[in-house]
């Protein structure tokens, strides 16, 4: 990895340079929270945002997208090629970069490549930025607190200046053109180590660090805990709507009012939706909150690990805030902590 250092005062020039060639998406204030949105000026960007309600996922997997158009009268299908806007998502935290990397594993799986996803992802640059954990963050417990790959630039705030990790030639050229990047000095490296330590020390200590979570998930599959947790689910799907790594979708045809033209669309789905596991004939494999919430937690903390050797949950904390019923992977970690304490008694 190549590292350079730029002054904080050079950031506006970097963003301007991106804006010349790309649509720039960045965290902005939105009501009392924050959201990734297209920005027109560096001044709109909130570099030290805690988290956003939803994640940058929406730019690679939109909540609703057209797959093709059809004409029901003529029984014809027209390939639909959407103009993909070349974008830079600026100011992405490590958890969300890891989330995009996980989505890549799913949608760029060579066996089932997804051309719609790939077109957007190929046209998207990612500029990461260091963060200070908020109360609900636990990326450090699911090995997602550091982005090792998946970005074009990563900006580490080391006090008045940024240590920039460079991940792509394209981004390096833009950095070079817009700023005066210099070699990192020993002093910069020390500042980096301090910043990293400060961050590590600021994670919420009330979220338990549990070893071997996937194994524990298997061991406690039938515990009454799942009834207690899932029994309070509101079936609202807020969890999957905010999650940076939920990738389930539904496909449906939407007719124009003229009854002739229509669109085949892909929309986000969620395993916490009551109908998610209904199959032909009407049987519902997960007919209650217990089964649905347990399934969601298994996919996040166990199933994806088995298939891809990494946690699907990146510990971003969004569902911790979005779930009004207080259901999140943190509750699962707390359950394992209680179990551990029980065993010790």
């Amino acid at each position: 990895m190549l590292y350079r250092v730029i002054d904080a005062a050079e950031l506006p020039a970097l963003v301007d340079a991106f804006m010349e060639r790309y649509e720039v998406i960045a965290p902005v204030r939105s009501g009392r929270s924050f959201a990734f949105e297209a920005v027109g000026s560096f001044d709109d960007i909130v570099l030290d945002y805690p988290t956003t309600i939803t994640s940058p996922k929406k730019y690679v997997l939109p909540p609703r997208e057209t797959l093709f158009e059809f004409d029901a009268a003529a029984n014809e299908v027209a390939d639909f090629v959407e103009e993909v806007t070349p974008r830079v998502i600026f100011g992405v935290h490590a958890c969300d970069i890891n989330a995009l990397n996980s989505l890549d594993l799913v949608f760029r799986d060579a066996r089932y490549p997804d051309p719609y996803y790939a077109a957007r992802r190929d046209a998207t640059m990612v500029v990461g930025i260091s963060c200070t954990p908020s109360e609900g963050c636990f990326c450090h417990l699911v090995d997602a607190d550091e982005a090792r790959t998946g970005y074009d630039l990563f900006l580490q705030d080391i006090g008045g200046r940024y240590l920039v990790s460079i991940g792509s030639v394209e981004a390096a050229n833009i950095l070079e053109g817009a700023c005066n990047p210099r070699e990192a000095t020993d002093e910069d490296r020390i500042a980096f180590r301090h910043a990293t330590r400060r961050r590590q020390a600021s994670f919420n200590p009330d979220i338990p660090n549990i070893q071997e979570v996937p194994m524990l998930m298997d061991a406690f599959h039938s515990d009454p805990f799942w009834e207690e947790l899932g029994g309070r689910c509101l079936s609202c799907t807020a969890c999957s709507s905010v999650c940076p790594t939920c990738y389930c979708f539904d496909i449906r045809d939407t007719m124009d009012p003229d009854g002739v033209h229509g669109l085949r669309e892909r929309t986000w789905d969620a395993c916490t939706s009551p109908q998610f596991a209904v199959v032909a004939g009407g049987h519902n494999f997960r007919a209650d909150g217990r089964n649905r919430v347990r399934h969601r937690m298994y996919h996040k903390l166990n199933g994806f690990m088995a298939a891809h050797d990494r946690n699907l949950c990146v510990g971003c904390g969004r569902c911790v805030y979005a779930c009004k019923a207080g259901i999140s992977p943190i509750e699962v970690l707390r359950f394992f902590e209680r179990k551990g304490a029980d065993d010790a008694d």
Binding site: S30, G31, R32, S33, A35, T52, I53, T54, P63, A72, A73, A74, N75, G231, R232, C233, L234, S235, C236, T237, A238, S240, S241, V242, D250, I251, R252, D253, T254, M255, P257, D258, G259, W268, A270, T272, S273, P274, Q275, G289, A322, K324, A325, G326
Partner: protein, 257 residues
Amino acid sequence: MSATNEKAPARVVVVGLASCFGCQLQITNIERHLLDVLGQVDLRYWQLTSSDPMPEEFDVAVIEGAVTTEEAVRTVRELRERAGTVIAIGACAVTAGIPAMAAPGFAERAASVYGDEAPEACGSLRPPAPVSSVIAVDHEVRCCPIDPLDFVDTLQRVLRGSNKAVPTSTLCGECKRNERGCFYGRETLCLGLVTRAGCGARCPDLGRPCNGCAGLSPDANVASARAVAARSGVDPARLDKALELFNTVDPSLASKG
């Protein structure tokens, strides 16, 4: 191409019961699509636009309004007998909506207004109820008022079939897709916790709490929602009270009296 195109267009009747007729009016609000839509059906009767008698034969009955009289009970039964498909439109027809606020203690209420006997023009009164409590309903277009395009979508489903799921999830997921924070963070009551999704969480998106016009989801977890309210500094009794606006006669709430 398919046989349906050669078949005669479906014969449709639109009937209003106890309602403000706003949902029927909403159908006219599809404006630029109205002729397109009318061109796909054979509209035999529309109470809002004509005083002609209802025809004997039709395929699709669109019913607006709550059932509030014995006469209305007979009307919807007759509609069910003749129509292959029944669509209930609007909160009044789907949940008995605002008319249902009169349901608890109905006889006493009526007596306090009309004395011993209500005038003949009222018909024989009965506690307001949703259409589905009297007859089987095939499709529902929810909300107060309906979204006109939602109505057209349902009509298309009837005419051509549809592979679109009709989920029973509640509203907050749509609210998060709109990237909105939550009213409960401001100690403000919102019925999105238990209200059926589908409207796109339109009120929270416009800065107002949901008042439940889409009706309680059959999967609503009201007990959990009360706990959410309590944790957020909102008296759970206010949640129950707010549910009375559109969900007074929902059978799942009946047990609490």
